[in-house]
């Protein structure tokens, strides 16, 4: 099944690169984003989808992001972390690529469009003050609100599937959660991205 999905090259015009934390605490939010994307007719893309191959990580991320018309970025995990209180800059870095592609598109793609998610009262403007003037979407850490924020954006994009309400997606989250749990049993923590997307598609079709 994974192979068939990998063989199915996603349509760049409907691809959305998801630049969000992968940790366990964030997982419900990530799952909600993935399911929302699928329900609204888009194809979730991630740095995880190409797995551990012998291509530098940055190249893989850039390829994936630049072959997606859209991207979603969550700056939740940019604050200090661990004993040494290190901030993580991967997500702002990838956001920068998206902004660059928005300003000066390379290749055949149309202008890249991106959406920024931040937790409510997040001090992003203090550590990336250059983002002042953009309009990030705030959420309170709940899947309900994140689904609403992401849907509110997707349903204004060309090619989105309308006629849905956030409750339609939230109603399918439980089925997706079960599928995700089964995948975790099978694969451990490293569930292949294509399998996750397939599970989301199955849940969306319920």
């Amino acid at each position: 099944m994974t192979e068939s999905l990998l063989a199915d090259v996603p349509d760049p015009a409907k691809s959305v690169f998801v630049n969000c934390p992968f940790d366990e605490m964030y997982r419900p939010i990530m799952d909600a984003i993935v399911l929302t994307l699928v329900c609204c007719g888009f194809h979730p893309r991630s740095a995880l989808e190409t797995g551990s191959v012998s291509i530098p990580r940055m190249d893989r991320i850039a390829h994936c992001l630049l072959s997606s018309r859209y991207s979603i970025h969550d700056l939740s995990r940019c604050t200090g972390d661990g004993d040494r209180n290190l901030a993580r800059f991967n997500m702002p870095l990838e956001l920068g690529i998206a902004i660059g592609q928005n300003m000066r598109p390379v290749g055949d793609l149309q202008r890249h469009d991106w959406m920024l998610l931040v937790p409510k009262d997040h001090p992003y403007v203090e550590f990336v003050s250059d983002l002042a003037g953009y309009d990030p979407k705030e959420y309170d850490g709940s899947v309900q609100v994140v689904v609403q924020r992401v849907m509110g954006w997707l349903l204004t994009l060309p090619g989105g599937i309308g006629g849905l309400q956030p409750s339609d997606v939230l109603g399918r989250l439980e089925a997706f959660g079960h599928a995700r749990a089964e995948l975790t049993t099978e694969w451990g923590e490293d569930v292949p991205w294509p399998e996750l997307v397939l599970a989301a598609r199955a849940a969306a079709a319920c």
């Binding site: 469009d113 924020r149 849907m151 509110g152 994009l157 090619g159 989105g160």
Partner: protein, 744 residues
Amino acid sequence: MPLIGWTEIATVRMAGGVRITADHHGGMTERTADDGWNVFLSCPPGDRDLNERLSDVLREHGLFPREPQPGADWRTEITDAPIVVLAISPEAWSSDRCRSEWSAALESSWDDNRKILFPILIDSAAPPPFLLGTRYWSASSLDDTDLVEAVLQLVTLVDEGREPANVSMVWNRAGELRADRAQGIAYSADGDLLAVATGDGHILLRDGATGRDRAILGDGRLDMRTVTFSPDGRLVAGAAADAIVLLWDTVSGAEVHRIQQPSGDRPTAVAFSPDGRSLATAGADGIARLWDFAGREIVSCVPALRRPLETIAFSPDGQFLVTGGHDREIRIWNTDNGDQVDTLKTGLRAVETMAFAQDGRTLVAGGPDGRMILWDVARRKPTASLRGHKGAVRAVSFSPDTRLLASAADDGRVRIWTIDETEPVADLPHRGRVTSIQFSPNGLYLAASAADTIALWVVPTALRRHRLAEVEAAAYALSPPPEQMTEQVGDLFRELARSQANPERHDAARWLTRVGVLLRAQGRWDAAYSRLVEAIDAIERSGGPDHPDLVTPWMNLGLVAAARLQWPRAVHCFDQAIRIQQLRFGREHPSLGRLLVALGEAERQRSELDRATELFQEARQLRARFLGADHPAVAAVVLDLATVEEERDHLYEAGVLLREAAEIQRRSLGPDHPAVALSLLRLGRLARRQGQRVQCRSFAVDCLEIIRLLEHSAGTLRVDDEVRRGVAELLTWVDAGEPMGELR
């Protein structure tokens, strides 16, 4: 989605529109922003002209568009505003700010289901995905009348005090009414009630607009299969599998009668006569019976072979009763004496379901093999055979305007057909067999019963005929005719003008202008003319001949003159409007574009072709400068230029311009837009005029391709029937090889 509630808009109330009411003491009351009439207006930031004009129209109709506040958080403004007007133009699609505003408005409507979102699609802009299945208004950026009409709809929506929020929970695509073991469904004639027959022995009465429970009829002991309302809505009849038909009073909920089938066979279908005096039942015993309401059998109709009947229907004039069942024929009976009048051989293995179109001219019958036959009732001839279902057709329903036919089948699909096409225009999936369907009486919704649910679908605007007519029809039913209301408003302000001093007199004249514009929009030329002339006179007296308020009445007076084919007068009026507008804004203002086009058209009509070309060229340059070279409005004026060249018999030049217009439309509206199809049709006609069959065919085929693509797309854009006919004419000409001269 909350927006679905708009489809329930019923009246265009001019008095409500201006938001001024007279009290019993002769005073006037005006609404304020505090009354909840605040509007957030989302417009493309680059189109200030549209923004200003739309703001003006909103203000003129008593709404309060919020002025942009420096430093204010626009998200908060959207959240706080009870009404959000989204002006969705091609420019808005490319504006990050606009899309953010749409997104914020959409999210806000999810949080606050009382919020009204009112999208106006400007210049045929594509609707964003979140508008799927919702009502929106279309307008040209060049015509204030469109904007006025759209805002009137909004005013009516707010003024009616309806709560779209309640509707939203029901009427979205995913929304369904739960009804365990739902079988037959029926709307009352006024659409107020939706009845559902359930296998657990109840008739559920739901509110036709919101889906809320109104009453539950029946004791739960009978297996209710079908249901129907009397024409006046006072009675509802349900047929049970237990050889009983029950009648209830819809107001009191009391059972008023029960009819026992004499043979003990189950009644398969019931129908009230159009005059409401009798009830017909079809039985598994092969007998159709007419009953009065004392339960007395009036007449019996017995098919020759006495095979089980499945369906029954009255002709809309009540003269005939038709029956269908397992004898494979449709039998037509005289309702007065029960005599058989005619028999239609269907070719179906059985007749499972039937329905008359509301005009009585067409009858449709569905069979167990998924096939349907359409009949011309007067000629007793089949006119079409519709195929597509992969299971027995269980129910059929015509839309009230007779334009659409819906069919439901065991394959779990509801298919929508236009009666002049043999391919469905839509295919709506359901979970499980679909047992019953019906269009709502206002034609806005389609209800379908399948698998314990009633799915409610919104009929796309593009598939409905006479959008304004339906609104007006509802207006007549619910309130004084809008024309009368307009007269009242006009008279009110005329009195005001006579009685008050100069400043107020000028203000009254502005009101008169609005009334004149509205009358013109209604096509009431004489009434519009007199009020606009009166307004001009009053404004000139109080403000002088160059007062900016004169632009609108001059413009509209010109349009009235044009409608009456009084071209010299139209030229004079448009000249005046342009002169004043130029005094106000100079020669480089975007609002001049529409005036120049109107004047150019008037000049063309009176054969001043050089002058017309000059004006169209000027309009084109102006629009290209302000709107961009690839704007649909630019394409429109290029088409005008092409028309002038055609009139000059400069066919080559006309062809170049038509191609140019089509290219602009392709780039700005998309390659499959109806406007592109229209331009291709014009190119085809031009080729025909030049006797160029190959080119003509090529344009016609391209046009046909767009028509087909649009017909099979999920979107709501459709090509007019006129274009369809035009293409057919071109292809006929190409194939027939007619001599060129006959077609000129």
